[in-house]
């Protein structure tokens, strides 16, 4: 008997008992949809992390003040609490490390910003034009501050979109004068939106100004919190890291064995770590969901076994009118695989729907990967064959005489 006929017989048998077929499928439907939705969440996160990393620039080498590790028996100096990183260090790096093409300083502060009756507390950052190149951060409108503005510590400000939207809900900010810590600043540019960092900071809630202006007029500091440097290539960033460490240790007179008062990290490390983290998360979510798929498969076997017992007489009749053992085995196997595949298909649709809801209600990024879909379909077919084989075998091995006599 050809396979088309077997499939027809199996489909008829399934259609005869719609309730049982539906219940049998349910396990697979839930399992597959869980896999699809969970992997979609994981992949969405992974994707977002990668976007984030790209937005930082892939060859960035990041120098921050403060020691990288806890000192035994001493006080740990965290990010920005050590005041030894200077603009002169940046110039030395640019001069002495040929693998670095350019650097941008970052000096952090915060303060109240006022425009007419609007006011907002935000973060302030002093830097140079280079920062926006290093960060790969374009302007939405206006212009950036040039070297001249830095040299003469002009009161000019470039706004992140969040700040711009709050202070200027329905006006063009360019050319307006705002007050930052009681001093007038002219708004010369608005940056394109950058979104949140992977740890939830709104990068657009920020005002940029020349570092000289921030140091002299806002915070009164002569140090910077970090340097963002660009290496000639992604691969060169690791070598550049070592060279920068050497330059800074010499400049800060840190003897052999003594601990650094700064920390140099590459985007390379960040990228690898973040990728690994999100991959682990995807795998974890996926494997938890796979367990429910396995449970669904066992459910199919369970019901198929009950079904074989319940349909003993039917099997006997089929054998009496000419079904061979192979016909019966194939019929039950096809029934199981059909249930698994049908369940898989419904599961994919349900999973896609659930992913849509997750991204809609929770605002999580989700990404339904074709790989997950293909794997889910193959997996459910395999489950159908694997867990359908034993009941099918049991059905095929029935003695027709006994089966016909079965009450």
């Amino acid at each position: 008997m050809d396979l088309g006929m077997v499939i027809r017989i199996a489909l008829r048998a399934l259609a005869r008992n719609k309730m049982r077929s539906t219940l049998t499928m349910l396990g697979i439907v839930i399992g597959v949809s869980a896999v699809i939705a969970m992997v979609a969440v994981g992949q969405g996160a992974e994707n977002q992390v990668q976007e984030q990393i790209k937005s930082f620039g892939t060859n960035t080498v990041f120098v921050s003040s403060g020691s990288p590790s806890r000192r035994r028996g001493g006080v740990r100096h965290g990010f920005g609490s050590v005041k030894t990183l200077k603009i002169a260090d940046m110039e030395a790096i640019e001069r002495e490390v040929p693998l670095i093409t350019q650097c941008a300083p970052g000096a952090n502060s915060s303060g109240q910003v006022i425009f007419r009756n609007q006011n907002w507390f935000t973060r302030l950052m002093g830097t140079t034009e280079n920062y926006f190149i290093v960060r790969n951060w374009p302007l939405l409108a206006g212009s950036l501050f040039g070297d001249e503005a830095v040299r003469s510590a002009q009161n000019v400000a470039v706004l992140g979109t969040t700040v711009a939207d709050i202070l200027f809900p329905d006006e063009d900010p360019i050319g307006q004068t705002i007050r930052i810590k009681e001093q007038p600043f002219q708004v010369i540019g608005v940056l394109a939106p950058k979104g949140q960092t992977s740890w939830g900071n709104d990068q657009d809630d920020r005002i940029f100004m020349p570092y000289t202006t921030l140091q002299k007029k806002i915070s009164g500091q002569d140090w910077v919190n970090f340097l963002s440097c660009t290496a000639v290539s992604r691969e060169a960033s690791l070598a550049a890291q070592t060279q920068i460490e050497a330059v800074l240790r010499e400049r800060h007179r840190i003897g052999p064995g003594a601990e650094d008062d700064f920390q140099v990290r590459t985007q390379f490390e960040f990228a690898e770590l973040a990728e690994q983290t999100s991959q682990v998360m995807t795998m974890l979510l996926g494997s938890i969901a796979s367990i429910s798929l396995l449970v669904g498969g066992i459910g199919i076997m369970n019901i198929m076994l009950v079904s074989v017992t319940e349909r003993t007489r039917e099997i006997g009749v089929r054998m009496a009118v000419g079904a061979t053992e192979m016909d019966i085995r194939r019929q039950f196997l096809v029934e199981a695989v059909t249930l698994a595949l049908l369940g898989g298909t419904l599961g994919i649709m349900l999973g896609a729907g659930a992913s849509g809801l997750i991204s809609g209600f929770l605002g999580w990024p989700v990404l339904i990967s074709t790989r997950a879909v293909v794997v889910a379909v193959l997996f459910s077919a395999t489950i159908g064959i694997f867990f359908g084989y034993y009941p099918a075998h049991k059905a095929a091995r029935l003695d027709p005489i006994e089966a016909l006599r079965y009450e």
């Binding site: 006929m5 005869r16 007489r313 009749v317 054998m319 009118v321 000419g322 053992e325 016909d327 005489i401």
Partner: protein, 257 residues
């Protein structure tokens, strides 16, 4: 159809094994059946008549002896070949009807043609034709639960006929029917036997049903004890009564010993 006997049993033995114990069910049965006969097999339960039916229906194979079906030895066939013979050569009618539930009469009748891998068109035509033959063409789309017992048995007979078998095996075909419906079913089987020269073998313990046959076999202890050809229903009834009286006398005699 070819000449010579349709069924030829030669010294057929069947032994069942229940663990260590051997139970002889048939102890050397020989039988020759010509085309177009209508045979009733009678006997007490345990006399071997069910075993004989299962062997005739190729549901089982004999432990020893030869079974020639249309001249072909089917005693030593594999289970796949036996399934093939059941599909093409044998039609079964059961006491319990054994129709598939929630399945229309038409689809029930079609079932054997599915395993014969016939094209859809032919399956359909044949199913319609046999349903007409048993007078149920208007009930083709009814499910078994919507049919009376007699109608269900007629669907089962249509199913048995669809692949044009050489033998129709009916195991207590009227056992679950009232007497009026029983007569209808037996008239149908008699008509099929007459008009189509279909070989009908039926197992029954009711004299009135056995009386439709033109040859009465009486089995006891795995052997055919009597084999009476009869001319008509009247003679058949006489033969059955004679057999049953003898059987009763034997039992009484055995009880005395």
């Amino acid at each position: 159809m070819q000449n010579g006997p349709v069924i030829q049993l030669e010294e057929v033995h069947k032994v069942y094994h229940m663990g260590e114990v051997e139970i002889p069910a048939l102890q050397g049965v020989s039988l020759s059946v010509q085309p177009g006969e209508m045979i009733a097999i009678m006997g007490a339960s345990g006399s071997g008549k069910s075993t004989l039916m299962n062997l005739l229906g190729c549901l089982d194979h004999p432990t020893a002896g030869r079974y020639l079906l249309e001249g072909r030895d089917v005693a030593s066939l594999s289970s796949v070949e036996r399934a093939h013979i059941r599909n093409r050569k044998i039609g079964f009618v059961f006491q319990q009807f054994n129709l598939l539930a929630r399945t229309s009469a038409l689809e029930n009748v079609e079932l054997p043609t599915l395993y014969a891998a016939l094209p859809a068109e032919e399956r359909h035509q044949r199913a319609q034709a046999v349903l007409r033959l048993v007078g149920l063409e208007e009930r083709a789309h009814h499910q078994p639960s919507q049919l009376s017992g007699g109608q269900q048995q007629r669907v089962a007979i249509a199913r048995a006929l669809i692949n044009n078998p050489s033998i129709l095996l009916a195991d207590e075909p009227t056992g679950n029917l009232d007497s009026r419906t029983s007569v209808e079913i037996m008239n149908l089987l008699e008509r099929l036997n007459h008009e189509r020269k279909l070989l009908v073998v039926l197992v029954t313990h009711e004299p009135n049903i056995a009386a439709y046959a033109r040859r009465i076999l009486f089995m006891r202890d795995g052997l055919i004890l009597h084999d009476y050809p009869v001319r008509d229903r009247h003679q058949a009834l006489e033969a059955v009564h004679q057999i049953m009286t003898e059987a009763a006398e034997v039992e009484v005699a055995e009880a005395r010993e």
